[in-house]
């Protein structure tokens, strides 16, 4: 429809490219230089001598492993609990499930900051302080409302005729769930997996408040510690930032659509 190129918009888009790209450029270039070279070159200069030493920080292996454990567990809890719930919300004729749904909608509005003090109290009482389980449980709970919203949306789109056909065949809910609901909700399930793993991978507040020792730290805590303890080792710090985003970057390259929907917490069709 628009034939004439829009020069002003083109210019604006380049300005934004600069804003987005500058820190990413500084980050990448810094990570391949030694500390001394970086200080001498400045953040904007091109590196004269390349080195990979900054990426060989062995402390991060433990943080990585912990983050993987937290992420996998959170996704497992979500996948175990949310699909049956969403199915019940969409198909149950009882009043109780409707009330449960409204509670989850209320949950959408609770920021995690609001509950860190009582969470700290409860996790302490449960003896789970400084334990990865103590991070996993609240992280999963706070990822749930969005996942419920996504999955109920997808399951509502399954036509009633399909449910009825299976009911007429005498199928019990479990069989309907396994043979009809799950296969037809694949898009929604992948969105839910991406969303909840991002929440777990990038989570900061719960690990900050609920863990303490080095062997129980996740990667975001590792970054925070690195910055408070060795804030002057900028190349090492930025290499850690690159490492922390690497898995997400890979997902972005290979499953862009699912990732975007997971980030937005919507869609899945």
């Amino acid at each position: 429809m628009r034939k004439r190129p829009h020069y002003l918009a083109g210019f604006g888009s380049l300005v934004w490219l600069f804003v987005v790209g500058l820190p990413l450029y500084v980050m990448l270039v810094a990570t391949f230089q030694s500390r001394a070279d970086y200080a001498a070159n400045g953040p904007l200069g091109l590196p004269k001598k390349l080195t990979f030493d900054n990426y060989l920080n062995d402390g991060f292996a433990q943080y990585f492993l912990n983050t993987v454990i937290v992420t996998v567990s959170v996704v497992a809890i979500i996948l175990l609990l949310v699909p049956p719930l969403a199915y019940a919300i969409v198909r149950s004729d009882g009043k109780a499930t409707g009330r449960v749904f409204r509670l989850f909608l209320l949950g959408l509005a609770i920021p995690s900051q609001a509950v860190i003090v009582p969470m700290f109290y409860l996790i302490n009482e449960a003896g789970l302080y400084d334990n990865l389980i103590g991070v996993i449980l609240p992280t999963a709970a706070f990822a749930m409302p969005v996942c419920v919203l996504i999955l109920t949306g997808v399951m509502r789109d399954i036509t009633p005729e399909l449910y009825e056909a299976m009911t007429v065949d005498g199928a019990a809910p479990w069989r309907i769930f396994r043979q009809l609901v799950l296969p037809l909700s694949k898009g929604g399930l992948s969105t839910v997996i991406v969303f909840s793993s991002l929440q777990a991978w990038n989570g900061f507040l719960f690990p900050l408040v609920l863990t303490q020792s080095a062997e129980n730290k996740v990667i975001t805590m590792g970054l925070y510690d690195f910055q408070t303890e060795h804030g002057v080792d900028i190349p090492g710090l930025l290499a850690a930032v690159v490492l922390s985003m690497l898995p997400i970057l890979l997902v972005y390259l290979f499953a862009r659509r699912a990732l975007i929907q997971g980030l937005m917490g919507v869609g899945g069709k």
């Binding site: 429809m1 628009r2 829009h6 918009a9 888009s13 934004w16 490219l17 820190p23 400045g42 904007l44 609990l81 949310v82 049956p84 719930l85 019940a88 198909r91 149950s92 004729d93 499930t97 449960v100 509670l103 949950g107 920021p111 900051q113 609001a114 509950v115 860190i116 003090v117 009582p118 109290y121 409860l122 609240p138 706070f142 749930m144 409302p145 419920v148 299976m166 009911t167 007429v168 005498g170 019990a172 809910p173 479990w174 991978w201 990038n202 900061f204 507040l205 975001t220 925070y224 910055q227 804030g231 002057v232 930025l238 930032v241 922390s244 997400i248 972005y252 975007i260 980030l263 937005m264």
Partner: protein, 315 residues
């Protein structure tokens, strides 16, 4: 309808099906409450109980050791008299308003621009998206390094940044916080606007062209009004996100200089985990939730969003 036919068919089914039919709620082919119960209990335990507990704790005195003691309204009266608290609320609101004012125009322009199907726009949009892939922690750490007073970009560009220490003065420290949030979250809002802009019926633009409306008039008279609902959604997201900004403050400014960037969320964290005044921190948390819900509610009401006014009006 289903409930009437299902039991009849069930009775002529194989024995296995009859066994299942005995469990409550399964006989009619509909899932019972048992399907919802595990998730409901889990969520109740780890989200709703803490929320109820924050109300209780706000009326207690607790330093993290031993048990909380009932303290009546002590925390609340301390809260209202605390100048740092009042200042932190203003700073939260200021950061939120500035965030909305900066992010909204950029996101709308980028979103509408990215809604075009040109190849270069798709490529650039993919790059614009990268900040959203990093965690808030990573973004804050990255910008702290890039803006480092001694080794960062400002030290190289003194003509632009003065003495190069952006974290030393309130105005520039606030500016950094707003800018870093904008850098990270603009892609999210851009995506919202991109989707909404693509959903605008092309007929409207064709009609406007026939009427001789130029590009800018089309933008202000068609695109913007049609984005109305998205503007509200996106603003509510920004407001809730802005009021609860925490990680960025902790990593970039630590609330400083002094308490000049100490917003309420960060003040709550300090009260709890630095001063070990958990009762007071609970009161701040509760206040924050109330303010955030109130602001969202007022916005929904004022904008008429709850009445779901269709953007398709006049099509």
């Amino acid at each position: 309808m289903t409930t009437a036919t299902a039991p009849a068919v069930d009775s002529v089914e194989k024995p296995g099906a009859r066994e299942r039919a005995k469990r409550p709620g399964t006989g009619v082919g509909r899932p019972g409450f048992a399907w919802a119960a595990p998730a409901a209990v889990f969520f109740g335990l780890f989200a709703l109980v803490p929320l109820a507990l924050v109300v209780v704790l706000s009326f207690t005195r607790w330093n993290g050791l031993g048990s909380p003691e009932f303290a009546g309204l002590e925390n609340w009266s301390k809260l209202l008299d605390d100048p740092v608290m009042v200042k932190s609320l203003w700073l939260s609101l200021l950061l939120t308003v500035l965030g909305v004012l900066v992010q909204t125009p950029i996101s709308i322009l980028l979103g509408v621009w990215a809604a075009g199907h040109q190849r270069n726009r798709a490529v650039l949009s993919a790059i614009y998206f990268v900040p959203l892939l990093l965690s808030i922690t990573a973004v804050s750490v990255l910008w702290r390094a890039v803006l480092d007073p001694n080794f960062g970009v400002p030290s190289q560009a003194k003509w632009l940044f003065g003495d190069g220490n952006l974290f030393g003065v309130q105005a520039s420290a606030l500016g950094v916080l707003v800018f870093v949030s904008t850098w990270q979250f603009t892609p999210l809002h851009t995506l919202l606007y991109q989707g909404a802009a693509r959903a605008i019926p092309q007929v409207l633009y064709q009609a406007a062209q026939i009427d001789g409306a130029g590009r800018y008039r089309q933008f202000f008279h068609i695109t913007l009004p049609q984005l109305r609902n998205t503007i509200i959604t996106s603003t509510i997201l920004m407001v809730v996100g802005g009021l609860t900004t925490f990680d960025t403050v902790l990593i970039l400014t630590q609330g400083g200089p002094g308490t000049d960037t100490t917003n309420s969320a960060y003040y709550m964290y300090q009260k709890a985990f630095k001063s070990f005044d958990f009762g007071m921190a609970s009161a701040i948390a509760l206040l924050l939730v109330l303010v955030a819900s109130l602001v969202s509610l007022v916005m929904v009401r004022l904008s008429g969003y709850d009445k779901m006014r269709s953007t398709m009006e006049g099509v």
